[in-house]
């Protein structure tokens, strides 16, 4: 049940570091109000999942770091080693001197094939260290050149080399007003290519996380580090060990497999969104208490009303009444009021998880007509609390969360493409206009599948 993480590009490496950091601090956290035995089996499961043993006794993260520039990787490696609690394997990284210049085609058609053997060798070595390889978890951003372009190529290679493993791509959606002019092209190309090889795409939006930092965490000057830490916290709260079925006697041994089977069996519906509650600064945490009914109610409304965090939720949005079907949307550009889900997964951690009532999530009105809640809704639980949160709930949802986002990006990219802006930068490296058209078509298909839920 080990997960091998592949950190791609600057963004991927920074976030990957924060993820392992968050997991490690959760590992050592003494806040858990569960029994010693429970804590021990949790720690053992966590260790097997993310770290391998070494003679020095310091756990080594199961990760491969890839970037075209040396700066970020060396920073990451040294920060990890300095922590004293964990580190990366210093052999498991690959970098070059040049960078990809935010050019997707450069990453995909040039760097990818050139360094493919070296990178796959590193991945193979990490995979062999695992007794039981649950799958691969890649972290990348969509806007840049290395993470997105090379990341798409590496994912394809992973799929070819490990046809039966599970591959989950963690994708960072760039700021709407981002710095990279061609980020829409990069996003479209990345998404469409990932859709062919990956099993699921888990999306985090920079804009949304930024708002969380500003409004919930009360951070004045928000740096990338803060954003990354929030993302890491959200990921950790999903991927730390849990019991994935009622009456299970041991922590789940295939987290990625369980996730995939519950949420993304349909080949056209692979986009996942992640919400986590509660989320606040550590200072406020000491003075807050939570109740499960309150948390669950907020989480449910966040799901229904497309809310990205627990503040500013639109409580007017209600699920459609039975017998009154949701009016068909004329175009996805209309503001979607109600979020129809395909499948949802709720992860509960902390005190009194056994008593939580999740009936609200089993309402058939929340789900698409062709799937009933018994098959669409899943729960993972553990009595062991995560980090400093006495109670926390996360929601991984395969729903129309990302519909608007995708539609926007495809629209903007299409406008640029129609006027052939910057296309020569891509054709220079072998990505032809037909390839662009293929990508647009694929994404339109995905958008239409989600819009017709």
């Amino acid at each position: 049940m080990s997960i091998v993480t592949v950190q791609l590009g600057q963004c991927g490496n920074q976030i990957g570091y924060e993820v392992f950091n968050a997991i490690c601090s959760d590992f050592h956290s003494t806040h858990g109000i569960c029994s010693k035995k429970e804590n021990e089996s949790y720690q053992e499961a966590c260790k097997e999942r993310f770290f391998s043993e070494e003679k020095t006794g310091v756990p080594v993260a199961r990760a491969v770091l890839v970037d075209m520039e040396p700066k970020v990787i060396s920073q990451t490696l040294s920060m990890a080693a300095r922590s004293g609690h964990w580190k990366y394997d210093h052999q498991s990284h690959f970098c070059q001197k040049q960078g990809s210049g935010n050019n997707w085609a450069n990453g995909y058609s040039v760097h990818g094939p050139r360094y493919r053997d070296v990178i796959m060798n590193l991945v193979q070595k990490e995979a062999e260290k695992c007794d039981r390889l649950s799958g691969f978890f890649t972290v990348m951003s969509m806007a840049g050149g290395t993470g997105s372009g090379m990341g798409a190529y590496v994912t394809q290679c992973l799929r070819d080399a490990f046809p039966t493993s599970f591959i989950l791509n963690q994708v960072i959606w760039p700021y709407g007003t981002g710095e990279v002019i061609v980020q829409n092209y990069n996003s479209v190309l990345t998404l469409s290519h990932l859709y062919q090889s990956s099993d699921a795409l888990l999306v985090h939006e920079n804009d949304a996380i930024h708002k969380i930092c500003a409004q919930l965490m009360n951070i004045k000057k928000i740096s990338f580090r803060d954003v990354n830490q929030v993302i890491a916290h959200q990921l950790g709260s999903v991927f730390q060990p849990t019991y994935s079925s009622e009456g299970a006697s041991q922590y789940s041994r295939s987290p990625l497999g369980d996730l995939m089977e519950s949420l993304v069996p349909h080949p056209e519906l692979k986009m996942l969104g992640l919400r986590n509650i509660p989320q606040m600064s550590e200072n406020s945490l000491a003075y807050s208490t939570f109740t499960w009914p309150g948390l669950i109610k907020h989480l449910r409304q966040m799901l229904i009303a497309h809310a990205k965090m627990e503040e500013g939720i639109d409580w007017q949005v209600r699920p459609p009444l039975p017998g009154h079907p949701v009016p068909p949307k004329a175009s996805p550009n209309q503001a979607l009021h109600f979020n129809t889900s395909v499948a949802n997964l709720v992860v509960l951690r902390g005190k009194d998880v056994q008593s939580v009532d999740l009936g609200g999530f089993r309402d058939p009105a929340l789900y698409t007509s062709w799937l009933n809640p018994q098959e669409a809704f899943h729960i993972w639980k553990t009595p062991r609390a995560f980090n400093k949160y006495e109670k926390s709930a996360s929601l991984v949802s395969n729903s129309q969360f990302l519909l608007q986002l995708m539609d926007n990006v495809v629209g903007k990219a299409w406008n640029m493409f129609a006027s052939k802006a910057y296309v020569h930068q891509y054709t220079k490296f072998g990505i032809e206009e037909e390839d662009f058209l293929d990508c647009f078509t694929t994404l339109e298909q995905v958008i239409s599948s989600y819009a017709s839920l």
């Binding site: 497999g257 069996p265 990508c439």
Partner: protein
């Protein structure tokens, strides 16, 4: 004839009962009651049959079924094995009567499917070092189509969203992948155990510990359980040997049971009791299947005849065309050396094509099948690594090389892949044809990787 063996019958039945797995043993008294068709024994024998057949078919996983479900299960298993006595299938589903019929069915199973031997095999103490190998030819591909057609007819045709079917298909694929991950893990761990404990085993031909033995080393206190199960198995085997010795007594006794049965049947006939309508399980389905099989046989014979005729025609056509070609070629004959070289290349090419076919036909006979024990041989020793030997034989006679099995399976994989590709191409052509027929529709193929 019977007097001398008066004491032998209880001994035989006793041995039979002791050879059955613990937990599924009937009281010997039940047999006597059954001979005289006493209703008290019928429920007991139904339960006995259910438990025994479940062990063989489902690995012993007994659900808390009602007696009705249990009886249905037993009837369907006996139908599957070809038991044809209509009186058995007419027995009521509350288990209140028919102990004599059940006794007959039980004895039939003993003989027909070697019930005892199967039970003993299934309940062996496991060393958990097993892999099951099957390289038999799979001839089931054509029968699937017809089976699904039979299955659909009785069901009501419901509207199912195709997306739901895609969902279920995806789940199945993911579950298969998880299974794959699990078996890879098992292989890895087995390899670790075998390599770490090499040189420890007393039996030199094996040389390393099995999983059960390693477990015993790690948890010495579990030896009691293991000892108990071994003792139980030994006593069952001894009872089986005794049963084999006394078996003829049992069959003589069963003949007397058949005699009493025919006597009672005659009495019933004279009383003029009319039999109930045939209530075979799923009678309609069975008749349907039976007539389908006959239809299938007719179809196959017709197909064979047409194929044969078509082949004959084709051969004569090709032969005549060939002769003409040869005649025209004869006029423009190259010099002899070139000709011989040409003939040689042609014979080689033909040999290559035929050898594949020959290999295919020859190896149909010796397909490896069944459970094998995995024995790991180090590269340093003379024999090859990954050496499998059959579980039951001593000294080892049925030995199979893992690399051989792997290459066979890889060849089969390649054939199946070719078949899949061919079927995909067929589907693609069909879809293209359909798409051409649709007006105002553009078909967009999926993205090329």
């Amino acid at each position: 004839m019977w007097r001398g063996r008066a004491g032998a019958l209880p001994a035989a039945i006793g041995a039979l009962c002791r050879a059955l797995p613990p937990g599924s043993r009937p009281a010997p008294e039940a047999f006597r009651l059954a001979k005289f068709d006493r209703p008290e024994a019928s429920l007991q024998i139904w339960r006995l049959l259910y438990s025994l057949l479940k062990q063989i078919h489902d690995g012993g996983w007994t659900e808390l079924d009602t007696i009705g479900t249990q009886i249905r299960f037993v009837k369907s298993v006996l139908w599957y094995h070809g038991y044809g006595r209509p009186e058995f299938y007419q027995l009521p589903s509350d288990g209140s009567q028919g102990s004599r019929e059940l006794l007959l069915a039980f004895s039939w199973l003993l003989n027909r499917i070697s019930l005892l031997e199967q039970l003993l095999t299934v309940n062996r103490v496991k060393i958990r070092d097993e892999a099951s190998v099957c390289t038999c030819e799979d001839n089931l591909s054509n029968s699937w189509k017809d089976r699904t057609e039979i299955a659909l007819e009785p069901c009501l045709k419901r509207e199912v969203d195709v997306r739901y079917l895609q969902w279920l298909n995806g789940r199945l694929r993911f579950q298969w992948r998880s299974l794959h991950v699990e078996s890879q893990e098992q292989c890895k761990l087995l390899h670790k155990i075998h390599s770490y404990t090499s040189g420890c085993h007393m039996d030199q031909t094996i040389g390393h510990f099995s999983v059960t033995e390693t477990d015993l080393i790690r948890q010495p206190d579990s030896y009691k359980q293991l000892l108990q199960s071994l003792e139980s198995e030994t006593s069952r085997l001894e009872a089986f040997l005794e049963w084999k010795r006394l078996e003829p007594v049992y069959w003589h006794w069963m003949e007397t049971v058949l005699d009493t049965l025919s006597e009672d049947a005659n009495t019933f006939k004279s009383e003029g009791v009319c039999k109930e309508k045939n209530t075979l399980p799923n009678a309609n389905l069975c008749c349907h299947i039976a007539s389908n099989i006959i239809g299938e046989i007719d179809k196959l014979t017709k197909d064979l005849v047409t194929l044969h005729d078509g082949l004959h025609e084709l051969v004569t056509c090709k032969k005549s065309a060939w002769y003409e070609k040869v005649k025209s070629r004869e006029r423009t004959l190259p010099d002899e050396r070139e000709f011989c070289a040409a003939v040689r290349t042609i014979t080689e090419a033909v040999k290559l094509k035929l050898s594949d076919l020959k290999y295919h036909c020859a190896h149909k006979k010796n397909g490896m099948h069944g459970p094998y024990r995995l024995v790991f041989k180090d590269k340093r020793s003379a024999s090859k690594t990954g050496f499998l030997s059959s579980v039951s034989k001593e000294p080892i006679t049925n030995v199979v090389n893992a690399t051989e099995v792997i290459s066979k399976l890889q060849m089969e994989e390649a054939t199946l892949k070719r078949e899949l590709k061919r079927l995909q191409e067929e589907c693609r052509h069909k879809l293209d044809e359909i798409a051409e027929g649709l007006v105002g529709v553009i078909c967009i193929p999926p993205m090329k990787r």
